[in-house]
């Protein structure tokens, strides 16, 4: 190819890049972007909040609501929704494989990130988070709407399942026993990690054992966000994880207590930093209750039935 042709091709590509409003591989959007593109038919705003009742009080204009207790999990088996259930949900939300799905929610996007993980797991191409979520939107005095936008349902089909984004118990045991070369990241509080407590106060989902998976390092989820709820810069994030020996050279498996908050750190590792990261959604409530698995319990707390 002649150099001039190459240049022309590059120019037209870059022109194309500036013309499209949503370039691929941009996992974060800011509030300004969300305001401008909310009405774009190719964009679908989806709220996934810890408290699903906040949506009705007011949400981003044009957004749809997803209830994580029932819409994203199988209510009987302890599992994420099946491929068929995901297809039904995405169809109901009027999403096509080309749609840019922008998720946001309350509590630092905890469950919005969990939703993003599931959308990625089922192979949706363009999944993003609204940086800062509801807190930042409100702090900037942007408007809410109480109207539920009606959408035309689609016929969504999942073409590939990214099962490499999910870790299961045997994978985690293999890492703990040194049979598999990967890192483990525990994003719970230092007291839970040390085994001083089994779960935070007021929490019902417990484990029989305290402590953490052997070889895991502890970096609570909160350190990756700034005061205003937005994520820290990629450079800062890289530095934070590097201090714990996670630098992207090895696969990293991230877990928490019930496997939802860890999706938040998974999003940072996998989507923002591009590391090979998996989310272990069974997390401590599965691992700490499993029979005969190795456990590191520095504090030595044992459940005594009280």
């Amino acid at each position: 190819m002649k150099p001039t042709l190459l240049l022309a091709a590059a120019l037209s590509l870059s022109a194309f890049g500036t013309l499209t409003t949503h370039a691929a591989n941009q996992p974060l959007v800011d509030t300004e972007w969300a305001t401008k593109n909310a009405q774009d038919a190719k964009v679908r705003l989806v709220e996934v909040s810890v408290d699903p009742g906040v949506f009705e009080k007011g949400h981003l204009p044009g957004a749809q609501n997803v209830r994580w207790h029932t819409d994203l999990v199988d209510p009987v088996r302890r599992d994420i929704i099946s491929k068929e259930q995901f297809e039904a949900l995405a169809s109901k939300l009027g999403i096509t494989p080309e749609t840019t799905v922008v998720l946001y929610g309350d509590n630092n996007n905890w469950f919005a990130a969990w939703g993003a993980w599931i959308f990625n797991y089922y192979g949706h191409k363009d999944v993003r988070l609204l940086d800062g979520g509801r807190v930042k939107w409100e702090a900037e005095k942007r408007p809410y709407s109480t109207e539920i936008a009606s959408v035309t349902p689609t016929q969504y089909k999942v073409t590939e399942v990214n099962s490499n984004l999910r870790a299961r118990l045997p994978d985690v045991v293999a890492i703990a026993e040194g049979k598999k070369d990967a890192r483990l990241l525990d994003i719970r509080s230092p007291d839970e990690f040390a085994g001083k407590i089994i779960a935070p106060p007021g929490v019902q989902e417990l484990a029989i054992r305290a402590g953490h998976v052997p070889t895991a390092v502890n970096l609570p989820w909160k350190v990756v966000v700034k005061e205003d709820g937005t994520f820290k810069s990629p450079e800062d994030l890289k530095k934070l994880y590097a201090e714990k020996g996670i630098d992207g050279n090895q696969e990293v498996v991230v877990y928490c207590r019930i496997g939802e908050r860890s999706a938040h750190s998974w999003f940072v590792l996998n989507q923002l930093l591009g590391y090979n990261a998996r989310q272990y959604d069974g997390s401590w409530t599965e691992y700490g209750n499993a029979v005969g698995v190795p456990i590191d319990n520095p504090a030595g707390t044992v459940w005594t039935g009280k």
């Binding site: 009705e56 539920i148 009606s150 019902q204």
Partner: protein
């Protein structure tokens, strides 16, 4: 208190209420939801006191004196609140038969404790002189019975910890909320409920006895602050407040905070169970989850009392009378039943009855049926006692 002193106190209270609302709005621990809840509480206090929106007195007047107008006020509130709720729910859920409930609204399971709780609550109203919300506005009129009844009710809420878990497992766990729009759609449910309220109103109106009309109020002040508001005005105002609260804060209710405090007492007295089953999955005035120093429900109640105080002072209604001991004992016994009944039925006349019926939940009707039966029985029982 002299008239002049009461007016000064009312104005000082208004200034304090404005300052509190402003401060709540700006404080990071509270915010706009808390501020709005505070104002809803104030407005509710003014309306309840001015319209004398007392479930027991209104029922008693209709049953014993054949004076239906005050009870028509309650039916008006139910009708107006239903219209408001349907408008709001319709915005949240385009199709009511979709298979899920709106995220807010006191749509509780239709189970027998609704009926039984209503019955106990009705008897409790007859013995204590009114329901929980009316006791709150009577505090502001200087009633010495109301503090006794409310403290005793708190004991009743604490007693609830003794029976909550078995009651929940036996009656509520497997019971489903029956939400009328889910069966028939919004339109038919709304029309059906309005028709039923209309028939009740017509029946009450037919059996009224003639009363001599009161002379016109001499001044605006007298009409607003001294005379009891007309039944329809109070009813419409309560209906509007139900809708505002449903849309913007939490569905109205005055017993969630009392339940929480009762639970605290039960813990102190050592009979609280390790865990109250099911409270995360049930709708109603149960335990307020709050990280703020005061729950939204506590703010609503404080606002209600403050609002009633303003209304009471402006009209010169604050009066202190010494009741006979027998009445105090009756108020204490009645209060206990109010607490136990509320705990069984997940709320009282505000949350379960007004909130439930206007949200088109069968649970509200069950409570109302039990309540009327309880008042009927209580009126007879108390003749023996008093």
């Amino acid at each position: 208190m002299t008239r002049k002193l009461q007016v000064v106190a009312a104005l000082a209270l208004v200034a304090a209420a404005v300052a509190t609302g402003y401060w709540l709005h700006g404080d990071a621990r509270f915010g706009r939801d808390a501020s709005l809840t505070w104002w809803v509480g104030i407005a509710l206090g003014v309306v309840l006191q001015r319209a004398r929106f007392c479930f027991f007195c209104n029922l008693r007047e209709a049953l014993e004196e054949r004076e239906p107008r005050p009870l028509l006020g309650i039916l008006t509130a139910l009708a107006a609140g239903t219209v408001g709720a349907v408008i709001i729910f319709g915005a949240w859920i385009p199709d009511a038969t979709a298979g899920y409930l709106p995220q807010r609204g006191h749509i509780s399971p239709a189970a027998w404790p609704m009926l039984a709780g209503g019955l106990l609550f009705g008897v409790g109203m007859a013995f204590s002189g009114s329901c929980i919300s009316a006791h709150f506005y009577r505090l502001a009129e200087g009633s010495p019975l109301s503090p006794v009844a409310l403290l005793s009710a708190l004991g009743g809420f604490a007693l609830g910890d003794l029976f909550w878990n078995p009651l929940y497992l036996a009656a509520y766990r497997m019971a489903k909320p029956v939400w009328l729009p889910e069966i028939a759609g919004f339109g038919a449910a709304l029309l059906g409920q309005l028709a039923l309220l209309g028939v009740l109103a017509w029946w009450l109106w037919r059996r009224r006895v003639p009363v001599t009309p009161e002379p016109q109020p001499a001044s605006v002040h007298e009409a607003l602050w001294v005379r009891r508001w007309p039944w329809w005005a109070g009813g419409l105002a309560v209906g509007a407040l139900l809708s505002v609260a449903l849309l913007r804060t939490q569905p109205l209710g005055v017993t969630a905070e009392l339940t929480a405090r009762g639970h605290q007492l039960a813990q102190q007295w050592g009979w609280a169970p390790e865990r109250l089953e099911g409270i995360d999955g049930l709708r109603g005035c149960i335990l307020p989850a709050s990280s703020a120093p005061l729950s939204l429900n506590a703010l609503l109640i404080l606002g209600l009392v403050a609002g009633s105080l303003v209304a009471s002072f402006l009209g010169g209604h604050f009066e202190w009378e010494k009741p006979p001991l027998r009445r105090l004992a009756s108020a204490a016994l009645g209060g206990l039943l109010l607490g136990v009944g509320s705990r069984m039925a997940l709320g009282c006349t505000i949350g379960t009855l007004l909130g439930g019926i206007t949200a088109l939940s069968l649970s509200g009707w069950l409570f109302a049926i039990g309540l009327v039966g309880g008042v009927w029985a209580g009126l007879r029982l108390r003749r023996v006692w008093w």
